[in-house]
């Protein structure tokens, strides 16, 4: 009986304890204790202001860390953020914060587009307010952190605080992907410049084929050379990543006709992308240059700073390949896929509208008088439009009307019959055709090309065009009072037999081929060709 009583007592005790435990009667009536830390960026870049509001890009402005160091649960946590004048209040909510739990909340501010009007760093504040409930009581904590809104052209290479950074390349340039926001292929100014370059190239559809793309890029490059674009060296401290650096939008490069290596890389990448090509920016210690992907997928590096020397596009690619790319591959570097970054959300800001004819107001044009490397003054804009006929009666009898006009191009000039259509410059070659279309006068020119390059290119293209070279006699002929390499060709074409006379030479780093062709045996056109060649002169 006694055992039964003891066992029953024990079971009653167990029952009571179990029920009490189940209902939480033994739990302490603990109180939650909120500990918090707020980390804040010192600055945001106006030029890349759209990235901050996109959580996927993870360029947060403020990080709030909440910890519950108490023994009770904290409820209904609300975190409010705002940036004075530039971002309205936003709120984030968390229902519970258990004892020992941590919440890390990131603030991605949706900044007003007004920030793009800032031309210099402007002080502001991030305001953070945390409200929460502990044991039925509502509490609030507020923090204010200073924030600099940088000017639209200011770029900070590193997102790390000085105390965090090791000074390594990757730490110093951790913000590199944001450079994609400075690549503006849709900017009307960029598109207009690209269109003008294409016009210079004789019309090119860059996305159609590699050849067309190269033709288009060469035209844009040539336009910049003609307009005297130059490379501006970076100032001291530019590459340290410690300070906000002035990065120009491509339209600024076009306006100023100059830029640092970063500016020129962004400018040329923008031009290429405006024509439907993919572009990359290679960043390495102390330098930057663009890569352009051709329609076939082939990628070419372009040393954009070579614009300073007025070299040809081909030479800029050659320098890019032999120097810039090799240097980049031999050390730390970052390759920014601009199209991918744009699709990720790193996109340019809205830029102010400019007048439709802004390029001409800035002195940019096919007929720019800036010249390149001091070689050429006026260029082909004067075609057929100069006063008088320098040749006077020269050759007048040959053409039957006694009149000649002069063509003045970037690199050379020559006379042609006044009653013919004016020669046209297609960017790389100037073309003159007789009214009966039986006589052609062509001057090819290419920076950096040798005599052999010019001859090989011409002859190779004849073969590709289905023209058979039945005879080839090389020797020397006179041009501008000097003896140059010359070739007389006999050609078989679909239109019959033709003759062609070509003179190849180089001058001031430019390769030239002065060629005319005519139906075989037509001595009038042969003499016409020689007359025109006699008037050929270097200089615009």
């Amino acid at each position: 009986m006694k055992a039964k009583v003891v066992t029953s007592a024990m079971l009653v005790l167990l029952l009571v304890v179990s029920i009490a435990s189940y209902t939480g009667a033994f739990e302490k009536d603990g109180m939650g204790k909120l500990e918090y830390k707020v980390y804040s960026k010192d600055q945001v870049m106006s030029g890349a202001y759209k990235v901050y509001g996109n959580p996927k890009l993870d360029f947060w402005a403020t990080k709030t860390v909440l910890m519950n160091d108490g023994e009770g649960t904290i409820k209904n946590i609300r975190i409010k953020y705002s940036i004075d004048n530039y971002a309205p209040e936003t709120e984030r909510r968390y229902p519970l914060l258990l004892p020992g739990e941590t919440i890390v909340d990131l603030y991605y501010p949706i900044l007003s587009s007004d920030v793009t009007r800032l031309s210099a760093s402007t002080p502001s504040n991030v305001r953070i307010t945390v409200t929460y409930e502990v044991n039925g009581e509502t509490r609030e904590e507020s923090v204010t952190k200073p924030l600099s809104i940088l000017g639209a052209n200011d770029f900070v290479f590193s997102s790390l605080n000085p105390e965090e950074s090791t000074g390594s390349f990757y730490d110093t340039f951790s913000n590199a992907p944001l450079l994609a926001a400075w690549v503006t292929p849709s900017d009307p100014v960029v598109r207009e410049f690209a269109d003008l370059g294409n016009k210079l190239a004789g019309g090119a559809g860059a996305s159609l084929s590699d050849d067309e793309a190269i033709k288009s890029l060469s035209g844009m490059w040539e336009l910049a050379v003609r307009n005297g674009f130059s490379y501006k060296t970076e100032g001291e401290g530019y590459w340290t990543g410690k300070f906000a650096e002035h990065i120009m939008f491509p339209r600024d490069v076009i306006r100023d006709k100059s830029g640092t290596c970063v500016d020129l890389a962004l400018w040329f990448a923008s031009l290429a992308m405006s024509q439907g090509l993919k572009a990359y920016i290679v960043l390495m210690p102390g330098h930057a240059f663009p890569l352009i992907e051709l329609p076939s997928g082939a990628i070419i590096p372009v040393e954009a700073t070579a614009i300073n020397q007025g070299v040809s596009f081909q030479e800029a690619v050659q320098i890019g390949m032999e120097k810039s790319w090799k240097m980049a591959m031999n050390g730390p570097h970052d390759i920014i896929d601009v199209a991918e970054e744009h699709s990720n959300g790193i996109v340019p800001p809205e830029l102010p509208s400019l007048e439709a004819d802004i390029l001409s107001k800035w002195g940019i044009g096919l007929n720019a008088g800036a010249g390149n490397a001091g070689e050429n003054g006026a260029n082909n804009g004067g075609a057929g439009g100069n006063g008088g006929n320098p040749g006077g009666g020269n050759g007048g009898d040959d053409v039957g009307n006694g009149g000649w006009d002069s063509y003045h191009g970037t690199y050379f000039s020559f006379n042609y019959p006044a009653n013919w259509d004016a020669p046209e410059d297609y960017g790389g070659y100037v073309y003159l055709l007789s009214p009966d279309e039986e006589f052609e006068f062509i001057v090819l020119y290419s920076r950096g090309a040798s005599v052999e390059d010019m001859a090989q290119a011409f002859e190779g293209s004849l073969v590709d065009a289905g023209v058979e070279i039945t005879d080839r006699q090389d020797g020397e002929a006179s041009l501008m009072g000097q003896s140059v390499y010359a070739v007389a060709y006999s050609l078989r074409t679909d239109y019959g037999k033709y003759s062609a006379a070509a003179r190849y030479f180089t001058a001031n780093g430019v390769g030239f081929a002065v060629i005319y062709d005519f139906p075989a045996g037509n001595s009038e056109y042969n003499q016409m060709g020689e007359h025109i060649v006699e008037t050929f002169n270097l200089g615009g």
Partner: protein, 207 residues
């Protein structure tokens, strides 16, 4: 004859560029990761990367100190606090080993918890009880490389209704706040049954 000219210029321009082509090479790292989540959403992580010998040397050159390499681990989740980060180069196996704790890795949404698995591609390999095995592919080094990891995620005991939705691993835990642990309820029932059996006279045959 007019067609010749166009070809001439294309040839002139194209010829020097054929040799100018370059290749952008993306590198790849294989890895394994074991993530053990505690009851308050903190993740205790053991991670190992396996590299090719060449890439291993490049990485050591790029990141001469493990402090610099640390950012490659931490940059994958900004919305956590990293603690106790330990990283070791493993020269013998061309590998990197890391252990660390991520405070606030999983977020308490009241009726469930969410663990962000990142924006990369992911494939669910298996799910057995409170253990989930995934393959995660994530960009590293600012997109220059890809990290392909087999991640084993061990959820807290009692996790239920586990599922993955939109890059989030979702699970539920027993509500601790009201202390209603079903074990105590079971114990109470057993005590009650014992008391009844002991004290309530039962009719037995012959009595």
């Amino acid at each position: 004859m007019k067609t010749i000219v166009t070809l001439v210029i294309l040839l002139l321009l194209a010829a020097p560029l054929v040799a100018g082509e370059v290749k952008i090479v993306e590198y790849k790292i294989d890895g394994t990761m074991k993530v053990t989540l505690d009851n308050v959403g903190n993740a205790h992580v053991e991670e190992a990367w396996h590299l090719t010998p060449n890439l291993y040397l490049q990485m050591k050159e790029t990141y001469p100190t493990t402090y610099m390499l640390r950012r490659e681990f931490e940059n994958r989740r900004s919305d956590t606090e990293y603690r106790d980060m330990k990283i070791e180069w493993d020269d013998s196996n061309n590998g990197v080993k890391a252990t660390y704790t991520m405070l606030g890795a999983a977020i308490n949404r009241g009726d469930h918890w969410e663990l962000d698995l990142g924006d990369g591609d992911m494939t669910l390999s298996s799910q057995n009880g409170n253990t989930v095995v995934l393959t995660l592919v994530q960009p590293i080094s600012g997109g220059d490389g890809r990290l392909i990891e087999t991640a084993t995620i061990v959820l807290p005991d009692g996790a239920k209704n586990v599922g993955i939705d939109g890059g989030m691993l979702r699970y539920e835990l027993p509500d601790k706040e009201n202390g209603r642990n079903p074990a105590f309820l079971g114990l109470a029932i057993i005590s009650l049954v014992g008391l009844i059996l002991l004290n309530v006279p039962l009719k037995r045959g012959g009595e």
